[in-house]
């Protein structure tokens, strides 16, 4: 960090970031009693971890940021999934500060540069991590965590396997979820720090998807999985869970969720399994080849995790209290060690030791004091430093308190502040040292190899130019090759979406899941084609409109119904006409859909030739409709077969000259092929003696179709009809 200068704006922002966390501390803790445990002195280790975070985070974050910026780490975290850092990271640190203020060891004006830096890092990380929803926290989003981009969600959506309560996949998945959750609690010393959820994501009217991350399962960074996690082939697992008939109404910054009605096993109707880490290039499918393979994978992993759970339980039950205190505190204060893994600067000496400045307070960390002091800090909000003037009403409680102390602005004037806690100090641990085996998606590596690869590896989605191709860009560029490639990166390992590109909608994916090959749906283009067809075939029925539009029967039916329901088309006895607004909407769309065609030289040249031949056609039709008898033009009653045959022969001759023109039209606008078939059909019938097919208005005679084609061309090219 460059030379530190205290400014009013900076203090204002830092206090706001403090308060963002302060309000959520109470809310998150209100529905949980102070945690107790029979194995772990949980509250005591939590307090201990806060102190460790306070003394170590500033130096550790600066070390990380020397390698990779907070916002880039946020991008990587979004790409690979991450443990619950959102609330924990700033609050562990700030609650350590609050403890020390209550002990008189520091003042609210101490370590000002550190505090503002830690919160600024947090802000930049969070904003990048939450980039797809534009919020700082789940709290800001109304307790919702929409983290992933469309391209990843589409793969999760498409590839999840259907399951129903009682079937083998459902049973295997439920058993796995229970087992891995319990193992996760144990690995993280009876906390939820290795479990994380994000979502919900909407799949259909009835279905939502919850993405559930289970991290640090194998030979991870914590020493207590040495010799225990090695049987588990993945360090991180992500379960995509499709639920039906239930709404996730709350997903908080601890990654916990609530639902209405309450989520039960039978609500799960689809499931998928993935692994992702710093070196994996996004989420790689695990056992996702078939329902049977996924079922077998869940069963196998469940067995492995159960064995590991029992072995780990034996290890932990045999720990001394100091070892338990260390393990829990390091799990908590180390909640952001994944940042160091991502940046390629992880060092166990940084993350697996209690800083000696925190260590000196160990003798205070007895069970009862731990429960009570933690309870006051995060539940009752009742320590002296948290009290405010009597008019104040804290969010949620209306009490005159606030969870976290602000920076006093007076230090802008009196300058009585200190900048930071200084460099890292040595640390201690009562736990065995971790071995040098780290499970990654690229195999079990030594730390040196792991960090080397982490520093060199950039996931494809985080490379230029893809890194900055966000949903708002995709929205307006989905039809470009670059958008296609962006989606294909995610689709590389997808069973259903491989190489499908960026054009699919959520509904298309749902259709694909249902096993249908038809993935097109009504979109802007389909909508336009239907409206356009209705303009060409005035008072046409749905079959005629469908035929001209070139859309499928299903899509045309949907679009026609939508247009009628929304005031674009009027319907009378099964026939359709554009409403005045419909005509205006349609008229303004041609320049959008045909701008390229309008500057297409070949097409325009063909159109010029068409206009010339059109005059000839009009003469032929006039000659067909009238006959000269005794110097007078009379209506042709078709009594003179030789005359009629001559006119039809002229029409045949014209059609031969017209064919190359039409071929040119079809190259420019494939849908116009419709006229090729129709005109040839009309001519053949006329030549076979069915005279109505020359110019009868009520059938698709040669002239009817020719006239409609002309109307098409005028609309497409934005020309006016010559009369």
């Amino acid at each position: 960090m460059p030379d530190f200068k205290l400014t009013y704006a900076q203090l204002l922002e830092t206090n706001n970031l403090i308060q963002q966390n302060a309000d959520e501390i109470y809310w998150l803790c209100a529905t949980r009693t102070v945690q107790e445990s029979k194995i772990f002195p949980v509250s005591a280790y939590i307090l201990f971890s806060y102190l460790n975070a306070y003394y170590r985070y500033p130096a550790l974050l600066r070390k990380i940021e020397a390698q990779m910026s907070a916002e880039e780490i946020g991008d990587r975290a979004r790409n690979q999934g991450i443990k619950i850092v959102a609330w924990c990271f700033p609050c562990f640190y700030l609650l350590g500060r609050e403890m020390l203020i209550n002990w008189g060891v520091i003042k609210p004006t101490d370590a000002v540069e550190d505090v503002s830096y830690v919160l600024d890092f947090w802000k930049r990380f969070q904003l990048a991590w939450h980039r797809n929803n534009g919020n700082l926290t789940n709290r800001q989003a109304g307790h919702r965590a929409q983290i992933m981009p469309e391209q990843r969600l589409q793969v999760f959506h498409a590839d999840a396997f259907e399951c129903r309560a009682g079937d083998p996949l459902h049973k295997a998945a439920q058993a796995f979820l229970a087992t891995v959750a319990q193992y996760g609690f144990l690995v993280s010393c009876e906390s939820r720090l290795t479990l994380h959820n994000h979502g919900p994501y909407k799949l259909t009217d009835k279905r939502e998807m919850l993405v559930r991350d289970f991290n640090e399962l194998s030979e991870a960074t914590v020493p207590w999985l040495d010799g225990i996690g090695e049987d588990i082939p993945y360090n991180n697992l992500t379960v995509t869970m499709i639920i039906e008939g239930v709404h996730i109404n709350l997903l908080d910054d601890w990654g916990s969720f609530e639902s209405t009605p309450e989520l039960k096993a039978e609500h799960m109707v689809g499931v998928g399994l993935y692994t992702a880490d710093t070196l994996s290039d996004g989420h790689q499918p695990v056992g996702m080849g078939s329902t049977e393979e996924l079922t077998a994978t869940f069963i196998d992993l469940t067995e492995r995790i159960k064995r590991a759970t029992t072995r780990l339980w034996h290890v932990m039950a045999g720990w001394t209290r100091d070892q338990q205190l260390d393990a829990g505190a390091l799990t908590y204060s180390g909640v952001i060690r994944e940042f160091a893994l991502i940046a390629g600067v992880y060092d166990p000496a940084d993350w697996m030791l209690i800083d000696e400045r925190a260590e000196r307070f160990r003798p205070l960390m007895n069970d009862e004091y731990g429960n009570l002091f933690l309870g006051e800090l995060v539940g009752y909000i009742s320590t002296p430093s948290q009290r405010m003037h009597g008019y104040a009403m804290m969010q949620h409680t209306d009490n005159p308190t606030k969870s976290l102390s602000y920076f006093p602005y007076a230090m802008l004037v009196d300058q009585e502040y200190t900048r930071g806690v200084g460099p890292m100090r040595p640390g201690i641990s009562n736990l065995p040292q971790k071995n040098n085996r780290y499970r990654t998606s690229q195999g079990v590596l030594t730390l040196e190899e792991y960090m080397q690869r982490a520093r060199e590896f950039v996931p494809a989605a985080c490379t230029e130019p893809y890194r900055f191709l966000c949903a708002d860009w995709v929205k307006y560029h989905y039809d470009t090759p670059q958008a296609g490639n962006l989606f294909k990166i995610e689709q590389r390992h997808s069973r259903l979406l491989r190489d499908k590109g960026a054009g699919l909608s959520r509904e298309d994916v749902e259709t694909l899941r249902a096993g249908s090959k038809k993935t097109r749906r009504g979109g802007p283009t389909s909508h336009h084609q239907i409206m356009h067809a209705a303009a060409i075939k005035k008072h046409g029925d749905s079959a005629q409109i469908t035929a001209i539009s070139g859309e499928t029967i299903e899509i045309a039916a949907q679009e026609i119904a939508w247009a009628v329901a929304n005031g674009r088309l009027a319907e009378a006895n099964g026939r359709y006409l554009l409403t005045p607004a419909g005509q205006m909407i349609l008229a303004s769309e041609y320049s959008r859909f045909y701008s390229a065609l309008r500057t297409n030289a070949n097409f325009r040249d063909a159109y010029a030739r068409f206009e010339r031949i059109n005059r000839e056609l009009k003469q032929i039709i006039t000659d067909w409709q009238t006959i000269e008898i005794g110097g007078q033009r009379m209506s042709n009653v078709h009594a003179d077969q030789a005359y009629d045959a001559r006119v039809i022969a002229r029409l045949g001759d014209l059609h031969e000259r017209f064919e190359p023109i039409l071929a040119q039209f079809v190259i420019g606008a494939a849908r116009l092929r419709y006229y090729d078939r129709g005109l040839a059909n009309a001519l053949e019938r006329a030549e076979a003696g069915d005279l109505a097919w020359v110019s009868e208005v009520k059938i698709e005679s040669y002239h009817t179709l020719w006239f409609e084609l002309h109307e098409e061309l005028l609309r497409l090219l934005g020309e006016q009809r010559e009369e």
Partner: protein, 242 residues
Amino acid sequence: MATLYTDTDKYATQSTFALVEAYNGAVKDLVRRRFAASGLSWQAFVADTAYETITREDIAAVEQQLLASGYRFEPSAISSARERPEAYKDSGLYQENFSFEHPAAPTAPADARGRSLSGVGDNVVTRTENLVGIARYVRTSEKVLEYLTGGVPADTIAIVDDSGGTLTAPILEKFRGVLCAGGTTRSHLAILTREYGIPCLMNVRLSGIKDGMRIEIECAARSKTGDDYANNVDAPAYVWRL
């Protein structure tokens, strides 16, 4: 004598819990004395010397002040009392014929169906029927080891102290039901039992239930939600001796 920044505080009252106030006050006293002795400005003291002048030994002495007066801590972890019996109360972990006797437990004589009300808790998931089983306290790692080795007896409704899913981790899924004397329906143990599909009441207050008794737990009661906790809405799920 030097004073601390926080010694002048218009709004502060003491910490609610005496133990917290006692220890936090003693640490402040220590800092006050060391700061005065240093003769330094606060900035110089906190930045350069506070770490050296407030040591682990000082903090250990603070802890001892209370223990020396005969105070004994309330234990949470088994290891705490096991390692320092002189510092912690005995919570009856190894006591024969133990039963929870929570002051807030509702009790009533046997009803028409022969059920004696013996407690109440917060239901985690609403089931179609109540659960009947055998009450068994699972409070020590020795008990878990016994069940790990010999198997969990059939129809066990485990009674555990608090939200400790960890203590019972290797055997949790073998229980028919769980009564937990702490936590809420959003606690770790609640999440685990929900995943395993095991009926569970959290935050139970019990009286008169001893190891081996047949009990019924009202897991058909309405489950208690986060909103219920936030708004102090009562949602009792009862426990009966049969």
